[in-house]
């Protein structure tokens, strides 16, 4: 059943360029997928490690700027991609070493500061980043001779990367390392007493998060063929965090749903409603009130309630008091 649903979803997504009804919507779908990859990466920290980062656009931006510089410097796509990912990982390692000196609000503030430093560099260090004007690149790569120039081709490439990202997350969640990571989120002291190297686990989670942020940065650059300080601004980090939280942090599909929500509101709703930001804000408030743990867990709870209705009365008569789903 699950497998069938998964296959069906994959087929529908793969066929999207044929039914979406135009380039505009194909491009929106590409954006959703690339931001979903970014949100999935951020969710490793926010959802599974319990560490809220407000500087992740910095990591995305470092990969995008790195690749842009390498490309404008005359390097090939392969070198640019490899170099950008290495740069993103190195930056993530540095971010992690600095930010993991704290947890909770301390971690938030340090990542915020680091993100702002990246923004400052992008904005002010003109000889490297071209400042406010940003860097344009021409051309997208052609992996295995498959040109990504057209919107539908780029969409398919993004879909492949997205499926890889989602698959790697599913694997992580079910793995012993993933179980340990969630343990460090819930009971770090206990985990240390059980023999887990909590700092190292968090550090590795940060690297994984940084890697997928870097991948998203590359897709961002190739999608827009342009990168500017806007990509690394605080609002970009906050938006990614909203995607994770509104969809459901610590769930596999939550960040994906959140990315869809934000991108659709930004691009589609803004065509109809001038004050789309207001609508987005109202939606978030509604989510916080009615589904405080996010859309995916909230919808799942609603679904259980609807499907279990006939059985509920009988079950609740038998169930012990206090036997409610743990939160």
């Amino acid at each position: 059943m699950r497998r069938l649903a998964l296959a069906a979803a994959l087929v529908i997504l793969a066929a999207l360029p044929f039914w979406a009804g135009g380039t505009f919507y194909i491009n929106i779908a590409s954006q959703i997928l690339l931001y979903a990859i970014f949100a999935l990466g951020l969710n490793v920290l926010v959802g599974y490690a319990g560490l809220v980062s407000l500087g992740h656009a910095g990591l995305l931006g470092i990969a995008a700027y790195g690749a842009a510089r390498l490309l404008t410097g005359g390097h090939g796509h392969l070198a640019a991609i490899a170099g950008a990912l290495a740069l993103a990982l190195a930056a993530a390692a540095l971010f992690a070493v600095l930010a993991l000196r704290g947890t909770g609000i301390g971690f938030v503030m340090i990542t915020l500061a680091l993100g702002q430093i990246v923004w400052g560099v992008a904005y002010r260090w003109i000889s490297i980043t071209n400042g406010d004007n940003g860097i344009s690149v021409t051309g997208r790569p052609s992996p295995l001779g498959f040109s990504l120039a057209s919107p539908s081709h780029f969409y398919w490439a993004t879909l492949v990367v997205f499926v890889l990202a989602l698959g790697s997350m599913a694997m992580l969640v079910a793995s012993p390392f993933g179980a340990g990571l969630r343990g460090t989120r819930d009971q770090p002291r206990r985990m240390a007493a059980l023999g887990y190297h909590v700092w190292m686990i968090r550090f590795l989670a940060f690297l994984l998060s940084g890697f997928w942020s870097g991948v998203a940065g590359l897709l961002f650059l190739y999608y827009n063929q342009f990168v500017s300080p806007q990509a690394v601004a605080l609002t970009a980090s906050a938006e990614a965090l909203l995607m994770v939280i509104s969809g459901g942090s610590g769930t596999l599909l939550g960040p994906v749903v959140g990315a869809g929500l934000v991108i659709i509101m930004k691009n589609v709703a803004s065509a109809y409603i001038e004050r789309w930001n207001f609508v987005l804000g109202a939606i978030f408030v509604a989510i916080v009130i009615f589904m405080p743990d996010g859309l995916v867990p909230g919808a799942a709870r609603l679904w259980r309630r609807v499907t279990a209705r006939p059985a509920t009365r009988a079950a609740s008569a038998v169930a012990a008091p206090g036997e409610r789903p743990a939160r």
């Binding site: 012993p176 340990g180 002291r189 240390a192 059980l194 023999g195 994984l208 939160r327």
Partner: protein, 249 residues
């Protein structure tokens, strides 16, 4: 003070929080296989002593030695691999997970598998089988699949002990294992702890002297961070200072 044969030795261990001296040059030597009880009124520094032994806190001065090995500077997570396991006074388990998953996490902590990001934890049948055995040891096998949040306080205590025992410790530190339990539950836990084989050295903290008295061979009385009395059960119970501390001056 401590012979080279000691399982756990603490020498001149000192820790203060700000101006408050909570552990004041404590010496302690526990022989292999011994059952040691540490008692003392609230605020005597019992839990702080445990935290210093497990590495959750760093001492200002003094040393901690485990089977002749100086572990004063060893990080806490590594001490678990050297054979120190503990339970907590305030239960700190994973409430959303099942009992089986709780114990599995404990076993995983001592296994190199904990670094594996690609294997399926559900597929680790050997590990999960050992977790089941550990639950059976505390008589909770039948609740293995139940979320921890749906168990009683006494059952959680036993899960704590199962998790500590699953790690195959050389030294087991029990921090008030009877706190908050009913009389029957206390009896169960006492029976459980008494059944632990002698190759595990046990140090137990108890606030209430009556409960754990039967269990202890040697007793250390802590008061304001200092060792006031130490000796066999009979010696300590008969000592005037013990009476003074417990019955009021």
């Amino acid at each position: 003070m401590s012979g080279p044969s000691a399982a756990l030795a603490v020498e001149r261990l000192t820790k203060s929080f700000g101006g408050l001296l909570v552990t004041a040059s404590v010496d302690l030597a526990v022989e292999p296989g011994e059952r040691r009880l540490i008692i003392g009124p609230n605020g005597a520094g019992k839990t702080t002593l445990f935290n210093l032994i497990t590495g959750e806190l760093r001492p200002d001065r003094g040393t901690v030695t485990l089977f002749g090995r100086d572990i004063t500077r060893t990080p806490g997570w590594h001490r678990a691999h050297l054979g120190i396991s503990r339970t907590y006074q305030i239960i700190t388990l994973f409430p959303r997970e099942t009992l089986l998953r709780n114990v599995t996490l404990s076993l995983l902590g001592r296994s190199p598998l904990r670094w594996n990001p690609v294997a399926r934890l559900e597929g680790q049948t050997a590990l999960i089988g050992r977790a089941r055995e550990a639950l059976a040891r505390v008589g909770l096998e039948h609740l293995a699949g139940r979320p921890l949040s749906q168990t009683s306080y006494g059952e959680r205590r036993r899960v704590e002990i199962a998790m500590a025992l699953a790690q195959d410790p050389r030294i087991l530190l029990l921090d008030e294992p009877f706190a908050g339990l009913s009389i029957e539950e206390r009896r169960d836990v006492l029976q459980l702890v008494s059944g632990i084989p002698r190759d595990v050295t046990i140090v137990m903290i108890e606030h209430d002297m009556d409960v754990a008295l039967d269990f202890a061979e040697r007793i250390t009385v802590l008061h304001f961070g200092q060792v006031v009395v130490e000796g066999t059960r009979g010696e300590v119970v008969a000592h005037p200072r013990t009476r003074e501390i417990y019955l009021g001056e």
